[in-house]
Symmetry: C2
Subunit: 227 residues, 2 copies
DNA sequence: GAGTGGTCTAGACCACCAA
DNA sequence: TGGTGGTCTAGACCACTCC
């Protein structure tokens, strides 16, 4: 490796071998650039990368210091469910269980920041991998953001359609665990009480709430990431 | 907002309003730089940022295209448990339940890439928030990476000590859900079968496996991230 | 081979903020 | 208010890869 990445790695090495201790200031950009024999812009790129990774903290005038509590920062890729299943070499299936307009429950409305009552699409779908229940999706969808023609969500998942047809802005994701209730257990083909991996997703455009989804994954599901 | 961020946002806007469609090539750096009236380096910065976010795909000669399957990419901060508890305004507590050298179980060894038998420290700890069980930790720790003097892990958590005293390299994190067994339920003060949020962490230095930890969180625990 | 993105440079100005 | 990082420029060379 050459260039700014090599410099970044050397800085990281010095931190790891405790040449530079946590909480301690390291030399400024110009000094390090001179030491490494590169332009300041190149040194800046290396240090900026480490700051983004949480290894360094940088402030104007105060300088650059080694982070005191090295927050481990992971990057998480959230794929579309169909691709997730197909990447395992399994056949993807989708069953739309329910679709109706309904009053948004208070808990969902609060999460989306809705004031007052609102009617959203309420959809329940079962995603299958090789015909076996993989994921139970309970979704509330703002009809106002849907351009015509609205697709038949029995064929394409709401998420997959949204992601390519609606200009999505901010989003929030929450991971948790929950015991399956009777309804969920029946649909997923599990004993009641099974531990489900729960993913809640909320999405907004620049202005409007778009959707709230509660995804309950069958046992065995894992989210994996490297640091 | 000004500068390269404003340019990035404008490019993002064009993608969201479908001026530039998924899978479609956008003009090259030089053309866009001219259009926006900036140097190519500035245009590059904006486009590189969107590529890192998964919105664009860039290849030399082929050019820059709007990603076909917009992978939503989230950044996850993994804090030290003590800080996580204290940030909720609760009092952190730690109880070391068990500490002994033992043969690494096959499942753990496989995850760490260990060949043959190895003796690691085996530690079990209970993390408390306001005196209530918060997290049950089951950890295997490579004694070879521990410099002297090894601390008393009854006072400081293994993770917190590691992160500031051992040069950590690569890491892997896996999230899942599991039903509490009798042992876990007793220690966490829960009915057996409760859904636990499970985090498995593996860490290596540049060369050696350092630790494998299985963290079982009490119900109510959530991992939250913004996109 | 040629077009594209990736990187580097030397210099400059600016925004922030601790001293 | 001065030192520091943040950004921008104009130009250059290079690495990759599609044609």
């Amino acid at each position: 490796m050459q260039g700014w990445e090599a410099i970044r790695d050397e800085v990281l090495r010095r931190i790891r071998v405790r040449d530079w201790l946590p909480g301690e200031n390291i030399p400024n950009e110009q000094m390090l650039a001179t030491e490494f024999g590169v332009a300041r812009a190149t040194m800046n790129r290396a240090l900026r990368d480490l700051a983004a990774a949480g290894v360094l903290e940088r402030r104007r005038k105060a300088g650059t210091r080694v982070a005191l509590h090295p927050v481990r920062r992971a990057r998480l890729d959230i794929p579309v469910t169909r691709l997730e299943v197909e990447e395992r070499g399994q056949v993807y299936g989708l069953r739309l269980l329910y679709r109706a307009m309904a009053l948004v429950p208070r808990a969902v409305a609060a999460g989306l920041g809705l004031v007052g009552d609102a009617q959203f699409w309420h959809l329940q779908s079962l995603h299958l991998a090789d015909g076996v229940p993989f994921l139970l999706e309970d979704r509330w969808l703002n009809p106002a953001v849907l351009p015509e023609p609205t697709p038949d969500f029995a064929q394409i998942s709401v998420n997959e359609w949204l992601v390519t047809h609606v200009p999505l802005g901010a989003g929030e994701i929450v991971f948790s665990a929950a015991n399956a209730d009777q309804h969920e257990a029946d649909l997923l083909g599990l004993p009641p009480g099974s531990a489900l991996f729960i993913v809640e997703r909320m999405t907004w455009t620049d202005v409007w709430p778009v959707t709230h989804a509660r995804l309950a994954y069958a046992p065995g599901y894992r989210v994996r990431t490297r640091i």
